[in-house]
């Protein structure tokens, strides 16, 4: 037998002005199980709350209905109040007789009648509620950052500086990501390496940061505050405790391999550091190309290594640790334009290069030591064409979106080219120039003054004749077909998410959009959070952006993580889904519908009809479930129910309402 207390608020004249509060109270007294009804001028005021508290004690009330303003206003107040009383905070129902009654109806009689109904519904529902208890979730004060590019490094540094431990997982053999490949950064033209490599060593030396290079996330389980993550550290074949990074092995290795860091424009050895300033500053052996590992012959590096650090027997290592928060900083790659644009030669012409290749060409530590030379014959190109939006804004062949940074870096490329080849000519084919950033448009205007010829139009075809690359375009501003006989063409290709992002995001149940960019929880208000609590986004994994924006977002993600790690425990929301295992059939319809991956099918053993039966049942992870209730509807037997909004309580409410 429940003992329900009903507290009806006048809210000054806000409610009482339209609703006959005393009549409602009179009616409430007649409702089953109601043992006490009280009206109050301002129930939310201190004396009002005191009254509720006293009534609970003196009438031994175990369920409370408050008829007042919207639960969106004061439900937390009432819950807090009940927490101090013998009544469970979730044995509460609020009847909204202000926003949805007194304020929207003028006729006193009608409004009073409706208020009565709302109280009836609340009483009916509260009678069916059960006490709920939030649990405390411990927070592991350690963060995982996936990706060691500029965004990942910035996030890690910010978190580490706040005093928390951070692990960076980097797939490549060194930190640095894409930024360290760049030559200069717009609009200030400071040297990318000069500002990026100090960050790398800062990360490498930070006492709170562990860098796991050449590593990938293998497996994830758990939830906010408690992500159990298994990391696979790929075999490096070198004992980093012994290696001093002297580089003797690299100079002696006989096997040459195409250098990906230099965008395929030079060669490296099979035992290699990605680039001289790599962090960690120690090499790895590329097992696919190493003669010793692939063919069993060679072993030169082991012979020359002064510390005996080479270990050909090395294997992948799996480690599992628990993290309180995870930040995705997985970055981007450039779209593979070759199969998409056969009209640009589809890769057949060596002097049609990408922007990133240009960055390496113009970089003093690149394959040409900073001299801009054509890959085909190492001659200096005198006519250069830059084509923007290759793969971007092209739903037919590539992506519909704008890659956002290309307008600026193509201007930078034009500027750099004209700077290094003063007698050269540079044509930039564009459709729009988008420069919304501090100092950006000024930079673009400067490039124009440098002499870059901007042609508004997309290039339709590039073909080779007599050693020249003939580019056919239209200058849409004069409505003329135009032709440029170029020596080199730079394609500013679209940014697309890094390889493997789909699989990785699926492991963490982080949402992706149609182009596989990771989806933030709210485009405006929660831009660095994901829909999975405890997982945050930094940098281009969320969408194309430039370095300032990436760093900015990295800081924002870090502050969210710091806020989380500062807490010792989290209060769980107890209004979550609950499985009645006796009737759960385990067919898994609920599993796929859960946006948080909170439901799993597990095999459980029961005693049924005096036999042991092992059968599949659904299991809700209370850390992940957010209480939307979508799963409950898929459960035909009703084994899945949402605490606080149970099927029974809603049906009771419907019934109560139907009687008015």
């Amino acid at each position: 037998m429940s003992r329900i207390g009903v507290f009806i608020c006048y809210c000054g004249s806000n409610i009482a002005g339209t609703v006959d509060v005393e009549a409602v109270a009179e009616m409430a007294r007649t409702l089953p199980d109601v043992v006490h009804v009280e009206t109050n001028k301002y129930t939310c005021s201190d004396p009002g709350q005191e009254g509720v508290r006293n009534a609970i004690i003196s009438h031994e009330i175990d369920r409370v209905v408050v008829a007042a303003c919207s639960p969106r206003m004061h439900e937390p107040t009432w819950r807090k109040l009940l927490a101090d009383t013998p009544v469970n905070p979730y044995m509460l129902e609020v009847a909204n007789i202000r926003e949805q009654c007194s304020w929207v109806h003028k006729d006193r009689e009608v409004a009073t009648a409706k208020a009565m109904d709302l109280v009836k519904m609340a009483v009916a529902k509260v009678a069916r509620l059960q006490p709920l208890h939030s649990t405390e979730i411990p927070v592991h004060k350690k963060a995982l950052v996936i990706g060691g590019g500029i965004a990942g490094m910035q996030t890690a540094l910010d978190i580490a500086d706040a005093g928390f431990k951070v692990t960076i997982v980097e797939r490549e053999t060194s930190l640095g990501g894409k930024m360290v490949m760049l030559d200069k950064t717009f609009p200030t033209m400071d040297c990318s390496a000069c500002i990026c490599t100090p960050k790398m060593s800062e990360v490498g030396n930070h006492p709170n940061i562990t860098v796991k290079s050449y590593s990938e996330v293998e497996n994830v389980s758990g939830y906010i505050g408690n992500f159990e993550v298994t990391i696979r550290e790929k075999a490096k074949y070198i004992d980093y405790n012994l290696c001093t990074g002297c580089g003797a092995c690299e100079t002696k290795c006989p096997q040459k391999v195409v250098n990906d860091f230099e965008q395929g424009m030079s060669e490296r050895t099979a035992i290699y550091k990605m680039f001289p300033q790599a962090v960690p500053a120690k090499p790895v052996i590329d097992a696919a190309h190493c003669r010793k590992l692939a063919q069993g012959k060679c072993g030169v590096c082991a012979k020359v290594c002064p510390t005996g650090a080479i270990n050909y027997e090395d294997e992948d290592k799996l480690t599992t640790e628990t993290y309180g928060a995870v930040v995705f900083a997985t970055g981007y790659k450039l779209i593979d334009w070759k199969p998409l644009y056969p009209e640009y030669g589809g890769g057949a012409y060596p002097d049609v290069i990408t922007g990133l290749q240009f960055e390496r060409l113009v970089n003093a530590s690149g394959p040409t030591e900073g001299h801009i030379l054509r890959p085909s014959d190492n001659s200096e190109p005198k006519d250069v064409v830059i084509i923007k939006c290759v793969g971007s804004r092209d739903p037919n062949k590539g992506k519909a979106y704008c890659s956002r940074a290309c307008c600026m870096y193509s201007a930078k490329h034009a500027h750099q080219y004209l700077d290094k080849v003063p007698d050269g000519r540079c044509y930039v084919f564009y459709m729009d120039v988008r420069t919304p950033g501090k100092g950006y448009d000024e930079f673009y205007m400067n490039t124009l003054h440098d002499g870059a010829q901007y042609i508004r139009g997309r290039v339709s075809k590039i073909y080779q004749e007599g050693g020249k690359l003939i580019c056919k375009g239209e200058d849409t501003l004069t409505s003329q077909q135009v032709t440029v006989e170029a020596d080199m063409v730079v394609l500013e290709t679209a940014m697309v998410p890094a390889d493997g992002i789909d699989e990785l995001a699926a492991k963490f149940t982080v949402g992706r959009d149609a182009d596989s960019w990771l989806v933030e929880a709210h485009a405006k208000l929660r831009p660095v959070e994901t829909n999975t609590a405890g997982i945050y986004l930094a940098g281009t994994c969320q969408g194309p952006k430039d370095i300032p924006d990436s760093v900015c977002q990295a800081g924002a993600a870090a502050s969210k993580v710091i806020g989380l790690l500062n807490k010792d425990v989290l209060q769980s929301n107890p209004q979550i889904s609950h499985v009645n295992e006796a009737i759960c059939q385990g067919d898994g319809a609920c599993v796929g519908i859960c946006p948080y991956g909170a439901i799993q099918i597990v095999q459980k053993t029961f005693r049924e009809n005096s036999r042991k039966v092992t059968r599949p049942v659904a299991q809700v992870n209370p850390g992940l479930c957010q209480g939307c209730g979508a799963c409950t509807v898929t459960c035909r037997a009703g084994a899945m129910d949402l605490l606080g909004y149970t099927n029974e309580s809603i049906m009771r409410e419907v019934d109560a309402l139907c009687q008015w």
């Binding site: 089953p32 926003e99 304020w103 939307c628 979508a630 409950t632 409410e653 139907c658 009687q659």
Partner: protein, 181 residues
């Protein structure tokens, strides 16, 4: 006289005092917020609607609708966030499919389309909430009381014991023609 016919007879004389009953299942994050905003802006709409708060339109079980129609509501409104705005990311996409199928099924069984409606109303669309409520109430009022055989519950025990009612309800000799086929 069969139940069906009895119900029809009852409807001939709709009492003047009859007011439509409409229940609105509203998602906590969007439509319930929008309804609150309508209050804050002191908008006016008919009192024939009662809002029942659910966490998400994805929580909306078709059984609630049948229950409401069976037990005395003349119209049911289900409201949620606009597609793409769901607080729980995907709830309203599932609701959209389920409600679309269910609405078609109800109409197939002879329910007037106006009696079961679904709307996406955001937390900012107080005006849309008001307009929706007004139009639904007016549409339902125009249709009159729901012409379904129902079981209106009493708060106390049902007046007729189960077996008795069932016995009365299905006299075999007056089975409607079209069913026996």
């Amino acid at each position: 006289m069969s139940v069906v016919e009895a119900n029809k007879t009852a409807q001939v004389g709709v009492p003047d005092s009859w007011e439509p009953k409409v229940i609105a299942f509203c998602c906590h994050w969007c439509t319930y917020t929008g309804a609150d905003l309508a209050g804050l802006n002191r908008m006016n709409y008919p009192a024939n609607v009662r809002v029942l708060r659910i966490p998400c339109s994805g929580r909306m079980n078709p059984q609630y609708v049948i229950e409401a129609l069976n037990k005395g509501c003349d119209g049911v409104l289900v409201c949620g966030c606009h597609p793409g705005d769901c607080h729980y990311v995907t709830g309203n996409y599932y609701a959209r499919r389920r409600m679309m199928i269910f609405k078609r099924l109800l109409e197939y069984e002879g329910l007037e389309p106006e009696r079961f409606q679904v709307r996406w109303i955001s937390g900012a669309e107080a005006g849309k909430f008001r307009d929706t409520v007004m139009s639904v109430v007016e549409q339902v009022r125009a249709l009159g009381p729901l012409n379904l055989t129902r079981e209106i519950p009493q708060f106390e025990l049902p007046a007729v014991p189960d077996g008795q009612e069932a016995f009365n309800a299905v006299p075999e000799e007056v089975m409607p023609e079209e069913v026996s086929a």
